[in-house]
């Protein structure tokens, strides 16, 4: 359940930012989660509610922006979409693929008051 630790990190960032950006209440949190990032969105949603208990964040809604895995094939030099790290190139069937997107785990933005 490292999603729990990740949610605790999210809370820390939100608390830290609340002083810099001057907000008292967080209504929505947008995360960018890549499909290769080892984060399970369902588990993230579950842990998010458990962790977001302080007045600043209680009741905040979590929106996950899914980012598709992308890679460049070093054999045929094409950019391809992948689902897993170990996928073969869907064009030429070879390995290895150099991953260019899909490893993201970022807080993108917040809706605050």
């Amino acid at each position: 359940m490292h999603e729990m630790s990740l949610c605790e990190s999210i809370l820390e960032i939100i608390e830290h930012q609340s002083q810099q950006q001057q907000y008292q209440k967080v209504k929505t949190v947008w995360l960018e989660i890549g499909s290769l990032s080892s984060v399970e969105p369902e588990a993230m949603l579950f842990c998010f509610d458990a962790v977001m208990q302080s007045p600043l964040v209680k009741g905040a809604k979590l929106e996950i922006i899914h980012i598709q895995g992308e890679a460049r094939c070093l054999q045929c030099n094409k950019n391809v979409a992948i689902e897993q790290r170990y996928d073969a190139c869907p064009v030429c069937g070879n390995f290895p693929l150099q991953i260019s997107a899909g490893e993201e785990m970022r807080i993108k933005e917040l809706e605050v008051e």
């Binding site: 579950f46 785990m105 917040l110 605050v112």
Partner: protein
């Protein structure tokens, strides 16, 4: 109380300190969303009706861990320490590999060990029995070690300059892949009793590791483990990975592992001045 970061105790204990529980309760389905902010609508809310505004954050969730990891890495480099993060499933033989490694190296190199487990100090006790200093981190409910815990453990353990610091992570092939501790290398240990498709089942870990140790090869005659297939799967996930086959029990293959440690230490010390 931490002088570096100002932290107080969490649910983690670094041997003999007190753990407290966080009472996380989950109330699934009883949120009170009085407005509809769903699916991008927040970008289009009517001005003047609420105080809501958007704040750009653009921060990596693991940013803080990565900062601690960078600080650890800086310290390790300054001290000429080679830090190896050993990761595997529970029961792959990490602690036995460590005790055997210590036995082979203790006349040649200084070593120290940080042990991570949810509970008990059994593993640190086993290491201390070899005469090498060790410190146990109990993660409580946590499933991995993080860079912050390692920073504190190193403060307490005080490894000698130019020594080898082994970190035995919590037995788990999922989460430790994401948490950089500041180590020079992740070493994934896979015992041949586990099944050759582990690298494909847990690709993040084998992708993050620089070395895979196939342990317990003395048991191969009694198993259906497909060694070639396992190596191919590991290379598929991580073309750069090095692979060593050994048995910590019989000692077969241990020489390659010892050589790998010494070579890694030589690289670590190449720009060490003191």
């Amino acid at each position: 109380m931490c002088t570096v970061c100002g932290c107080s105790e969490g649910e983690t204990t670094i041997e003999h300190s007190h753990a407290h529980e966080h009472g996380h309760e989950h109330h699934h389905g009883d949120h009170e969303h009085t407005h509809d902010y769903g699916q991008g609508a927040a970008h289009a809310h009517a001005p003047g009706l609420s105080q809501a505004r958007m704040v750009q954050i653009e921060q990596d969730i693991l940013g803080k861990n990565n900062q601690y990891a960078a600080a650890n890495r800086g310290y390790f480099s300054e001290q000429g320490l080679l830090t190896l993060n050993l990761v595997s499933s529970p029961g792959s033989g990490k602690t036995s590999l460590l005790t055997e490694t210590i036995g082979l190296l203790k006349d040649q190199l200084e070593m120290a060990v940080i042990e991570g487990d949810q509970q008990t100090t059994h593993d640190a006790d086993r290491i201390r029995a070899t005469g090498v200093k060790a410190l146990q981190i109990n993660t409580g409910k946590g499933c991995h070690l993080d860079a912050h815990q390692i920073g504190h453990a190193v403060e307490n353990l005080k490894p000698e300059a130019k020594s080898i610091l082994f970190i035995e992570n919590v037995g788990n092939l999922v989460c430790p892949a994401s948490f950089d501790l500041g180590e020079a290398h992740k070493v994934a240990i896979l015992s041949v009793t586990e099944g050759e498709d582990k690298p494909l089942k847990y690709p993040d870990m084998f992708h993050a590791a620089d070395l895979m140790i196939l342990n317990k090869i003395d048991l191969l005659p009694y198993l259906d483990f497909d060694l070639e297939q396992c190596i191919q799967y590991a290379k598929q996930v991580n073309p750069r990975i090095k692979i060593i086959q050994l048995s910590a029990k019989t000692g077969e293959g241990m020489e390659s592992w010892i050589q790998w440690i010494k070579a890694s230490q030589a690289v670590q010390l190449i720009d060490y001045v003191k």
